[in-house]
Symmetry: C2
Subunit: 193 residues, 2 copies
């Protein structure tokens, strides 16, 4: 089975007018995605931002719950935030994965819209389960703001199909999308548990 990892990307992402921006850290993105990652057995949750003040903010949020007042108040939260690693850029993430897992990383971009080369969740699960991909790391990249920038999508190894519900509305929060994706990939749906 391939290894699943997650990155929450704050640069390069799209702004309101499709321009490439660096977005701000959102406190609850870190909490919710760390808790979902912990629930589904993901070992590393990378938070990617090139902005020094934003990196400091992310580190501060994490350490509050690991060592600060939050650790005593709610120890479960620290366990989840232990998965967070704050990085300046995706090449740092790839290097960290290389060092830790001694393997190459495949970038799996996510999007709220269908792309020409989007693959469905069952297809991605087949890739993850293939014997030749055992011990390979698949990094699920989630875009903040208006989504991952075009250049990011183009350079990704795979693009995962958008989550479609029962309506044409496709504006899930990145927190909700991350939770649903992890559940689709790793959840025990057969037993309904």
């Amino acid at each position: 089975m391939g290894i699943l990892s997650i990155a929450l990307v704050h640069y390069p992402v799209k702004g309101r007018k499709d321009e490439t921006i660096a977005s701000a850290i959102t406190n609850l993105d870190l909490h919710d995605i760390a808790r979902a990652a912990k629930t589904y057995g993901v070992e590393r949750f990378y938070v990617v931002t090139p902005l020094e003040d934003q990196k400091a903010l992310a580190e501060k949020i994490v350490s509050h719950w690991q060592n600060g007042a939050g650790a005593a108040y709610n120890p479960d939260r620290g366990q989840a935030l232990d998965l967070v690693k704050v990085m300046s850029a995706m090449d740092q993430v790839a290097a960290d994965i290389g060092r830790h897992y001694r393997t190459e990383v495949k970038i799996v971009a996510t999007s709220a819209v269908q792309h020409l080369r989007s693959i469905g969740f069952p297809e991605f699960q087949t890739i993850l389960a293939a014997p030749e991909n055992e011990n390979r790391v698949y990094l699920l990249a989630l875009g903040t703001a208006w989504g991952l920038a075009d250049e990011f999508m183009e350079s990704a190894d795979y693009i995962l199909a958008p989550i479609a519900g029962k309506s044409g509305y496709n504006h899930l929060s990145v927190r909700s999308a991350a939770a649903i994706m992890l559940d689709r990939i790793r959840g025990d749906r057969e037993s309904g548990m």
Copy 2:
């Protein structure tokens, strides 16, 4: 097919020491769950709190995105928050459903732990799909804080199984849990979209 509705319950819920409390409104709970509800075609999202100041806060959040500065900034958000109805108690919710759908409501409680009478998601889908339940409303009740109070669980018509991932960690945010539940119940998982 039965009709699905959602309630985010702020009373009666458990506090840290299992005491019954009224919890505070969290801005992003309203946003994230409204957006997920809209995505999965849920028509009504009830926010339940008996506290007048908290009801006022919830109404203010909703109207900011419906008519205020938020409506111009991000019209998609208003579309989702249009689903929100702020209510003082569950009997008001039941009365509203009765008035609107002219049918009785079945309360489906959710929990992070397994109960003796918990039913799995496939079983709940079978209930929803049963011809005799067509036009009946199933209200998915989500607890804030440390979860729905025991007396709420006991009086519910059904209890849905907890979402289990790949670890023993069961501390998803209510936002994440809501998104995953809606996707399990209503998502188009076969196509992986």
